[in-house]
Amino acid sequence: MKYSGLLMGVVMIAILAWPGVAVAGEEVEDEVAQEELDQPEESDQERGSSLLPLRPGMALKSGGGFYRSVPCQCVDRHLWTTQLVARMHLGWRATIEADLQFGSMLLGGRFPSEGWALGGRVALMEPQGRWWDGLHVRAGYRQWRVMGMRAEGSPGGYGALNWELEVFRHFYIEADAVVGRTFQAMQHWYLMGTAGVSTRF
């Protein structure tokens, strides 16, 4: 939790220090008024490489799932999570992402959890204005800790199928189906679904 402020601060600095973004926002607002009279609106994806090749973005997602203990070989608890994600989009094809995760594990009682992840996302197809263009695959490394652990935390990895849809310019809805594995202390597989919103510039 104490790093979330730092993460948000880094993203804020990146956005504010990106001169093209702040200025372009104002210019685009004026241009939109004129362009709307002339032609259909383009989405971020359709405009693609006409924008800056590197574009910062953020996402906020939440969801839940199941925990399958490796030693027990049983699904014996549930997980909930909220994720604050910072992204750097590399054109339309790839994204680097870092996120902070806060949630809980339900095993009899509720055990607060926290973690962070570092990974990437790759688009499965070039955007052409179809609703399924927003399919991506994601993968990365995760560090996770739950209250009451003897160990400092547990490392792991994840893979996900991610879908996003631009509902209006710069603003997206997202959904993920995630499979992950955690090692060392509290070895488990997890299967989770998350949904949320994101934006990029």
Binding site: G5, M8, M58, C72, G148, R150, M186
Partner: protein, 415 residues
């Protein structure tokens, strides 16, 4: 608002949430203030304790505690102008008059709580080594200690009355003389014996991990604590190793408790079908929640013996209660320590001094709660001589263990 405005709004909101969470995560506060404890801080500490006990303590009637007398005793601690550590000790004494091990003041000062590799006791006013599971300290058993790190044994005996040390995470249970000899893991302490000999030893981690040992046809699972949620995985591995054994001994002697989720997880490996839940109720009998122990994973279906003693407390006592409530096993050893309360309210009064109060009581599906402890199915005096040399015992412990010996005989069909 146009679409760019929506995006900006979203970013600002997310930043705001992030910074707020960051500030929350970074911040820490106490209920009453800091050391040194001035009159205002002490007044606050007394008021907070009094308020929490009066509002939620569930055992006043059961333990025949006069809460007015308790309040009087508590406020009396403000009369003397004692040193801060003495004041905290006096508060702890007042709280102990409630005779509830879960309602207590804790010291949370150790980063990595460590304990001495010898067990000591008070005998006739003297500090004596009771036992050690390390061969090199066996020669000290029964000997009198006159000083610890140069501190007179009389002072050490008084330090045993200090509040329990639970470590900064609140997960350890160092009380009495264990706490008096405790410190940071890895640090050393020197015992000066009555004979004049000086023995130096290193403190080991309080947090011993679950251990399973296969001894012939039987499996022996030593659990010193239920205080770590990730121990459930280690317990599962231990049960997996035990699946082919003819019987299982679960040793909860000295286990001061921890998370009921871990005990229910262990119990879930011993049953195939769902059992009735225990209930957590407040002092008015209102249900707070049910504690269920669903079957999980591969079941160990052989006979189970649970070794218990006076220090089997709280969540360990709860596990023992489940075993006999659902007729899943027997208890061998001594009367358990009890502790059927759940302390779900607590505050850091000043840095390193935590107060918590029992708020709910654990009720079994039938009968009464086990706050005062459970009688063993087979009572064994831990000091009685062992009947015979058993290689299996010597595999598990350096000292004679009549309780373990009886457990093995029980499993072999002798009672």
């Amino acid at each position: 608002m146009n679409r760019t405005d929506y995006s900006t709004f979203f970013v600002v909101m997310t930043l705001g949430v992030g910074l707020a969470l960051g500030a929350w995560g970074c911040g820490s506060s106490t209920a009453c203030g800091e050391f040194p404890l001035d009159d205002e801080v002490r007044q606050c500490m007394v008021s907070e304790i009094e308020m929490m006990v009066v509002e939620t303590f569930p055992f006043a009637e059961y333990k025949q505690v006069d809460l007015n007398e308790f309040s009087r005793q508590l406020r009396k601690t403000l009369e003397a102008d004692s040193a801060d550590d003495v004041f905290v000790g006096e508060l702890s004494q007042a709280v102990s008059s409630l005779r509830d091990g879960h309602t207590r003041i804790e010291r949370r000062g150790l980063q990595n709580p460590g304990v001495a590799p010898v067990d000591v006791e008070e005998k006739n006013g003297q500090l004596v080594v009771r036992s050690s599971d390390e061969d090199r300290f066996q020669k000290l058993v029964g000997q009198t200690i006159v000083a610890v790190d140069g501190i007179d044994a009389d002072v050490v005996l008084r330090q045993a009355g200090l509040p329990m040390e639970t470590g900064i995470e609140g997960e350890a249970r160092l009380s009495g003389l264990t706490q008096a000899l405790g410190g940071e893991e890895g640090t050393s302490l020197t015992l000066t014996m009555k004979s004049g000999e000086e023995v130096t030893m290193d403190r080991r981690s309080f947090f011993a991990e679950p251990q399973v040992t296969i001894v012939g046809d039987y499996a022996y699972l030593k659990l010193e604590t239920f205080g770590f949620i990730d121990d459930l995985e280690k317990i599962d591995e231990g049960i997996n190793e035990s699946l082919d054994s003819r019987g299982l001994i679960i040793d909860l002697r000295g286990n001061g408790g921890g998370y009921p989720s871990v005990t229910d997880g262990l119990f879930g490996r011993l049953i195939e079908e769902e059992v009735e839940p225990f209930k957590l109720v407040d002092r008015h009998g209102e249900l707070h929640r049910e504690l269920k122990a669903p079957s999980r994973g591969k079941t160990f279906d052989g006979p189970v013996v649970v070794l218990v003693d006076r220090r089997t407390y709280s969540a360990s006592n709860y596990f023992a209660h489940r075993m006999i409530e659902h007729d899943r096993g027997v208890l061998i050893g001594g009367h358990t320590g009890g502790g059927a309360a759940s302390p779900q309210r607590g505050k850091m009064l000043v840095p390193g001094v935590w107060f918590q109060v029992s708020t709910h009581v654990l009720q079994p599906p039938t009968g009464f709660h086990s706050e005062s402890g459970l009688k063993p199915t087979v009572a064994v005096d831990p000091n009685e001589p062992t009947a015979e040399d058993d290689e299996r015992i010597s595999t598990l412990t350096a000292t004679p263990d009549p309780v373990l010996e009886r457990a093995l005989r029980y499993l072999e069909g002798l009672r």
